[in-house]
Symmetry: C2
Subunit: 174 residues, 2 copies
């Protein structure tokens, strides 16, 4: 059981990962894996566009690193902290890695696989059922994503406007 | 649309991947990704135990390679052939990579996420819905797995028997 302080600390580390994505114009999602002694054994941030690889979500990269740290595909009694609700792929990876528990920030109403669209952790027939703690620092997690997309849209609008101006200027010259 | 001959050819390539796993005492599951021109752009076989990484399923590795080949996380109009029904993680990866279609061999009654336990490809709210062709060379795919586990069990039985014999011999010497 983590204390409130510990949960805050680990979520801050997940946010720090998300910020690494944001700094590279990538959708800011970050994740970390913590072992039973409280050591961070895996970190990851969304690199889908950066690497041009569909599977390079924060959770997958954090799980891969944790498996390499422990030299084990079973992350028994380990916990995952992630800023956004895992998608089906990541929820499946969490089950496959036998993670004990998942703490996540914002819900994902389009692709969330921990209750928002489907709930893979609640499928009885699966052989592992991680505990889920939803909405940890949800407001911060949600606003981080909202702000990112708002900035992206503003940039795109500005780009379009500039292209229009350039076109108007060049047609005046003609 | 692939002809029967083409489908046979691609499934044979997926089986060849599965055989690479089997040759290394790994559960034999193989996958390939084919581009719209019919070129194989990604191959993978189950390496979970070999690499000690929970996410190293055949489909994930084949998708990763295909993304790198095309330098794109979107595998538009590409097809995946896999010997076993994808699990939740791999079905999620197939959706994330926007694969057009999935051909698979044997059903997975314990973890299958394309109809056997859950059907992620049929979740309306998800933003992509690959076409699924089930049971392609199902008998070969199923017997490959059945034989593998039968051999594993026989080896374990033999090992136990030998350990018992050794114990009996050493107690006679005492």
């Amino acid at each position: 059981m983590f204390s409130s302080e510990e949960k805050k600390h680990y979520m801050e580390l997940a946010f720090a990962e998300a910020e690494k994505a944001e700094a590279q114009d990538e959708v800011p999602i970050g994740a970390i894996v913590v072992d039973p002694e409280g050591q961070v054994i895996g970190r990851g941030y969304n690199r889908r566009e950066l690497d041009n690889v569909a599977t390079h979500h924060a959770e997958i990269l954090a799980i891969n690193e944790a498996c390499k740290t422990l030299n084990s595909w079973r992350l028994i009694d380990c916990s995952l902290f992630v800023t956004l609700e895992p998608c089906a792929m990541c929820a499946g990876a969490i089950i496959n890695a036998r993670l004990k528990e998942v703490f996540y920030g914002a819900p994902d109403h389009k692709a969330g696989a921990s209750g928002s669209v489907v709930d893979l952790f609640a499928v009885e027939k699966f052989n592992h059922h991680p505990q889920v703690i939803r909405g940890l620092y949800r407001d911060k997690a949600s606003s981080m994503l909202t702000n990112f997309f708002r900035t992206i849209r503003a940039k795109q609008k500005e780009k379009k406007l500039k292209a229009k101006e350039n076109k108007a200027n060049s047609s005046q010259i003609d």
